[in-house]
Structure formats: C-alpha cells, structure tokens
Symmetry: C2
Subunit: 313 residues, 2 copies
DNA sequence: TTGTAGGCGTTATCAG
DNA sequence: CTGATAACGCCTACAA
C-alpha cells in the first residue's frame, strides 16, 4: 500500500472512531486472544501472588485474562468443562488445582495448551514449588544449630484439591532421618492455614512430655500464630523454641521470622511464560513439572537450643 | 417443540459432545456475557476482597469475569480505552480508580453500563465506603473514653487514583471540632499503607512535645506497625496509647486491635449486583454514590488515657 | 411446528 | 497488489 494512502485511511479511521470489533475478529480468526485462569478462591495470599505473576507475564502480550474461581467443590466439574473449551480460550492456566482426568483427556484431544501452576498431573506441564526441599532446608538449618527435637506443623490438605500433598512431610522426614533424628509421636501435625490453628498446634506440641525445641511450620500465617501463642505462654522465641516459617510474606520480615522464601509470583510468571511460548509457537509444552527452588531466609526466630531457661520471677 | 423431540435432540447433542461456540454466539447476539473489571494492582488486601465480593455476586449469573489490572499509571489510558468497548463487554466495574472524563463521556454515549467501586465520579453510579463516618466514629470512641489529644495517621493518596481522598481527614477534623478538641501541628500525617510506615509515623507522633494519647489509623496494616513500634519503645497499648485501626483484617482480631470494620467484600458484591440489575433490566443505574456504613469493633487497644505510667524498673 | 435464508464484522482466499 | 466474495457458527425472522 502506498504509504500516503495508508496514512489517509488510518486518519479516517481515527476520525470516525473506528474500532475493530474484537468478537467478530475472534470469530473469524478462531482465536480469542484470551487466557483462562482457574484458581481456588481468591482469598489466599498464595493465589493472589500467583495471579499477580501471571498478570505481569501477560501484561505486554495483548492477551486478555479471564478468571474463574472455584469456591465450592461442586463448581469444579462445571468450571473445568467451561474453561477448557478450545473455542473460548487460546490457553488455560490451572492454579492450585488438579484437573479431573476426563478434562485432561479432552484437553489433550483439543490441543488447547494448558499449564498447571502449583499443582501436578503426569500428563500436563506444570510449575510447582519444591516444598520437599524447603522442609528439608528448614530441618537442616535447625539441625545445624544443634536441635535434635524438631517438630512439624504442616498444613491441612486443600479440600479443593483431592491430591494429598505430602511433599513437605516427606522432606521433613527424610531430612530428619538423614540427620539420624527421631520423629516421636505427636511431632507431626497438620492444621488449617490460619494463625489461630498455628497457635493451637504449637500449644499441643509444647504440651508433649518431651516437647520439640524447634518447629518447622508450613506457612508464615500459621507460624505467626505459633509465635504469638508461645509468647503468651512465656515460651521465649528463639531461646526456648526456634520457629521456621514458609513463604516469607511481608509480615515475616517485619516480625523477624526465619522462613523459607517461596518465589510465588515467579511461579505464576513462569507458568504464564510457558503458556505464551506455546501460543506463539516458540516452545513446545512438555508434560513435566518444573520445580522452583525455595531459599532459607535467616532472621531471628531460630537459635541454638538447650540454653536452660533462666526462669521467670 | 414436542417434549419428546426435544429430549431426543438434547440426547443426541450430548452424545456427540456438541458445545455451542461461545464466540459465535456472542457475535450473533451482540452480547458477550462478559463483565470487565478494572482494578489497581492485585496486591492490596482491599482490592482482592472486593474482587471476591464481585465474584460471589456473579457466581450464579453466567457472566464471565475479565480482569484488567493497572499496574503503572501509563497503562491507565490504554486499559480504559480497551475495556470500555461496548463490543467487548456487557458491563464494566471500575474498582478503586476514577476513570478519565473522556472515558466517562464515551461510556455515556455507548450506554455500556458501568459501576464504580471504591471510587466516585459525579456522572456515574458508585459504591463506596464511608471513610468520613468511620474516622468520625473512631474519634468519637476515643473522646468517649476521655481522650483529648487524638492524632491521625492517614494513608497517602493512591498514585493510581488522581482524586485526592480527604474523606477520612474530613471526618476526623469535623468530629474533633464537634468535641471541642484541638488538632495541634503534627497531629495529622499520611504514610504509605505498610506496617513500617505506620511504625515510623507513630514514632514521630510520640516524639512531639505534647504527644497524642490516642491515634486513629487509616488501615489495620499501618496500625499493626504502630502497635509493634510502640511496644518496642516501651509505650504500652492501651495504657499509654490507644490505637484504632480501620478495615478489620483477619489479623486484627487476632491481635486484639480495636478497629472500624469495612464491609469490603460487601462493597464488591453491591457493585456487581447493581450492574447485574442493569444488565437484566430490572433496575436502572443512577449516577450517585451509595455509601456503605462501617462499624466500630471494640477490642483491646483502647482505654481511658492519663493513667500515669507506673514507670519501669 | 419445522425448515430455510439472511445477517452479524472480520479475515482469508482467490480472481482480476 | 487490489478488490470482490465466501466462509466463520449461531440467531432470528419469515415462509412453508
């Protein structure tokens, strides 16, 4: 086209306020320029951060984000049906949820690109955190400080995700074993991801006849509750009890919580990048899990054990 | 249609796995069954909760949620252009952002229904929190306890939202005046919405020659920092300093923070309901602000002032 | 009640 | 390289 004509047309379009109809466009091209994200309820810090990572990766890509949250287990089937429709989206990101096998099969047939984030399936590509390594690193840190009695406050399995998640416990156990340490009865427990639950759990642990001197906690949220509960009972942290959290939420730095940092936003970003790569054809999706490493952040809630408590007046 | 035939067809459709193409459908009907939500970055607790409210209201409505976040001020114009395209969405929810006038005008012409949530514009319907009343209620509470020197830690204006938001300060000032109380120099300050900033602000307030005995804080997040900073400096809460937060986040209950509860999720829900009403034609949108009331939640961070500190060894 | 012929706005294809 | 034309899949309206 002659550049002059081109300019004239563009100017006219601008003047008349012409805007191509995105729906008609999607219809004709058979591409919606849309990515569907399925996520368990938006309330949890982790999922919000993952979304933010996804959003970042997509921000200069012209893809539109459709969000579907699964609040109740009953929504699961219907939501997956809807969002994994290749007519609807160009790609799908499934966050923190393991899609039913039926969906996975249909997905495979339709060649709709899918990436799992913070969940796994043998036939699908995924990006996950290495909770096993994280728990192991936390144990290792305590062991290095000289602890021998180390407890674990794990999180309950996610009711929305039927896959039992024992990675943290596996890491804890194998590292304990590697250090030649015992895991007495009652040293492992699981609670919901709330400060209250963390508080109760630590109280239970401290009530054991031979209580732990250090405790690995599955989340900072639970750990914060544990910290507060210990303080209320006159158990000093870290002198009497060392605590290691997980995630490194904003408050963790503020409270001086030693924790294992989870690159959560990165998780979302990597998932989205994988999907984008598949969409522009630059990289093929492979059905395997990418495990992002976590890193111990040493602050002030851990110290060597066994300094006899000086007693309180 | 004969019910028998109907059943046969439905069965056949089911068997063949027929699924109407949603894009073609939207194209033909000229309705996308989509609601666009524009929101400042997803990181803030408030916006996430609002989204959750929106999601709840929409959950049994068959509308699909498209989310656009505005991370940088530069995205503003472009994002508003895109999402306020009547071909793209059936309705728009604008959260925490005041749309530029040009957009408002185009919106009016296109008759695309829009509701503002947690922001206002004279020509658009909106749902907002009554921060003015909240600040007033907080002051009233402190006054009732006998405080005379009451400070305000406000939040900085949102850089993404050019409209200066002085509602809290207005409520504070008018209530102070109504109680016949002075607002000395330095009693009002604004900080970012982080615990660190809240901590610094309270330190500044306490360093005044005639420091306040009570402080109204614009958010629980800031208040938590203030609490911690006070404690670190040996200022007891509530004996030496009363603190009132705002929002009532989860942690607030846990920490015993007296605060003014903001029905944030309700905010999103109401906004979405308004929009849904307009979409199904049951209620017309009126360009006025609905102010949701906030409620004082009395816990343990406020007490009468002036009990002389017993001194510390 | 059933069948059929446009039309929606864009893109892609294929002659000219 | 330009310009006309047939899809795209569904919906509505009208005719049989």
């Amino acid at each position: 086209v002659a550049p002059q004509t081109r300019a004239r047309v563009l100017a006219a379009a601008e003047r008349l306020g012409y805007r191509p109809n995105p729906v008609a466009r999607a219809f004709a091209r058979r591409r919606t320029h849309t990515i569907e994200v399925v996520v368990p309820l938006l309330s949890a810090y982790v999922y919000v951060e993952i979304l933010r990572g996804i959003e970042q990766a997509l921000s200069d890509s012209n893809y539109t984000l459709v969000i579907r949250t699964i609040e109740h287990a009953a929504d699961r089937a219907r939501t997956f049906e809807v969002c994994c429709d290749p007519d609807r989206a160009d790609g799908v990101l499934i966050v923190g949820l393991r899609p039913p096998d039926a969906v996975v099969q249909r997905l495979g047939r339709s060649r709709l690109p899918v990436v799992l984030v913070e969940s796994e399936h043998p036939d699908l590509p995924s990006v996950v955190l290495d909770y096993e390594a994280a728990a192991a690193a936390a144990v290792r840190h305590c062991v290095a400080l000289g602890h021998q009695r180390i407890g674990l406050i794990d999180r309950d399995d996610d009711p929305l995700n039927p896959t039992p998640d024992s990675r943290r416990r596996d890491g804890y156990r194998s590292e304990m074993q590697a250090a030649g340490l015992d895991v007495p009865n009652g040293y492992e427990c699981t609670t919901p991801m709330t400060p209250q639950a963390g508080a109760e759990a630590v109280v239970d642990l401290l009530a054991l006849s031979d209580p732990p001197t250090a405790v690995i906690v599955a989340s900072d949220v639970q750990a914060i509750g544990a910290l507060e509960a210990a303080r209320r009972r006159g158990v000093r942290v870290p002198e009497d009890l060392s605590v290691v959290g997980n995630h490194d939420i904003e408050l963790a730095e503020y409270l001086g919580l030693t924790t294992v940092r989870a690159p959560i936003r990165e998780l979302g970003r990597r998932g989205a990048e994988l999907l984008l790569g598949a969409l522009d054809g630059s990289t093929a999706l492979e059905p395997r899990a990418i495990r992002l490493p976590m890193q111990l952040v040493v602050r002030t809630t851990c110290s060597p054990p066994g300094q006899p408590s000086p007693g309180r007046s």
